[in-house]
């Protein structure tokens, strides 16, 4: 669960590096759920400075390479202007129930936020 947007807080970076380490250790990631300002990780319109990491495309690549399910909360996304039209590849918009379902299905739930 990622609660903060790209760049502003380190939460998204920490979550990504944690997710990568999880996969490297051979564990499965049931889902990454983006809530609160975390939904801003899913905009395809970011264009960070060239010498900086690209937080959004990094998530997209994780989804492509490892089939990780990246879910953006619809209610939080509507408040913040994330829609299908500016959604980056690999993300899907769905309901909060997906978070609760992950809590039920996964062995552990780790929250990254502010």
């Amino acid at each position: 669960m990622v609660n903060e947007g790209p760049y502003t807080h380190q939460a998204s970076d920490s979550a990504y590096l944690f997710a990568k380490a999880t996969l490297e250790k051979g564990h499965q990631i049931h889902r990454v759920f983006f809530y609160h300002d975390g939904v801003n990780n899913a905009t395809r319109l970011t264009e960070p400075p060239q010498d900086d990491r690209n937080v959004v495309t990094r998530w997209s690549k994780l989804a492509e390479d490892h089939g990780v399910d990246l879910v953006v909360c619809v209610a939080a996304a509507m408040r913040r202007g994330i829609r299908d039209e500016n959604l980056a590849p690999g993300f899907r918009i769905s309901g909060l129930g997906q978070l609760v379902e992950s809590g039920i299905q996964a062995d552990r739930l780790v929250v990254f936020g502010d």
Partner: protein, 134 residues
């Protein structure tokens, strides 16, 4: 939630009932965490899990009586806490010390809660399966 029927109608059909604890540590209005946290709690009710809500630190202010938000043009969501019972979310815990340093007591709160010591709150946390903080 009624624990004896929890497994029967649960929302994801898996039959698993886990202990979910939602930890509310932020004041309302200054940030959106309290409001969006409450939305998660309401949704969780549909999954027939063993849900408890904890109010710690500034989170206790979420339950303060007498909130009037017209002049800041933001929706007053405090009445929703009164509606939690209708969702079978009945386990509300507040830490005693959080109330005391703010000059509050249980009578200042919108809904009946169980007031716990810090240590009792910590013991309760340890027994949970999923802990989500806002």
């Amino acid at each position: 939630m009624n624990e004896t029927t929890g497994g029967i109608e649960d929302g994801d059909g898996s039959g698993i009932v886990k202990k979910f604890m939602f930890v509310n540590r932020k004041a309302p209005y200054g940030t959106i965490y309290a409001l969006e946290g409450l939305e998660v709690v309401l949704i969780s009710a549909a999954f027939d899990q063993d849900v408890s809500m904890v109010f710690l630190d500034d989170g206790v202010y979420q339950l303060a009586k007498g909130q009037h938000t017209k002049a800041i043009d933001v929706k007053n969501f405090s009445p929703t806490y009164r509606a939690l019972e209708g969702y079978d979310i009945e386990k509300l815990y507040v830490e005693r010390e959080s109330l005391e340093i703010r000059g509050l007591n249980a009578g200042d709160l919108l809904v009946p809660v169980e007031v716990l010591s810090s240590a009792a709150m910590g013991d309760l946390m340890k027994t949970q399966d999923v802990v989500i903080g806002f």
